[in-house]
Subunit: 97 residues, 2 copies
């Protein structure tokens, strides 16, 4: 996984979930909502998808009672693996208030 996929926040209210601690992604989500945005998109690929769901659920239930899941999109992306291109599942969770 490249560094760009590991960063916890980027442009347009997006949180990319990678291999860091679950709570660092929760913090990224909660921080963005506390800065006043109305919508945050959590993105993940492959095995990080489970962690993205955990981050969404914990953010919502423990810290953001007025926020709910607005949309969940599934997809497949082609990335460069060690032995050539491989397909991985991807997910985007849109949280909003």
């Amino acid at each position: 996984m490249t560094m760009s996929a590991e960063k916890t926040s980027g442009e347009d209210n997006t949180v990319f979930v990678g291999r860091k601690d679950l709570m660092s992604y929760v913090l990224a989500v909660v921080t963005q909502f506390n800065e006043g945005v109305d919508e945050v998109v959590i993105k993940a690929r492959g095995r990080a998808i489970s962690r993205a769901v955990d981050a969404a659920e914990i953010s919502r239930q423990r810290f953001l009672p007025d926020v709910s899941v607005k949309d969940v999109r599934l997809g497949t992306e082609q990335i460069e693996g060690e032995k050539g291109p491989v397909r991985v599942s991807s997910m985007e969770i849109t949280l909003g208030r």
Copy 2:
């Protein structure tokens, strides 16, 4: 995880994704659609969530071109862990044609 969460198919067109091979869940989904149902619900908890997304994507793209993702629901369930009740994320993917 209990045996009931490991079975690949149950009542009302549901496939529970657990620790088996990914392709056994793909087979369960494809078999149900080939038997004539119009909708299959894929359910998973915790780390199996990533596998559930893989099963949905592979079923759809490789075997069921007329099937699409109709709904994705996220949730949190309380289960009995070794040290008492623990909360785990859950997911339900509804595939339909």
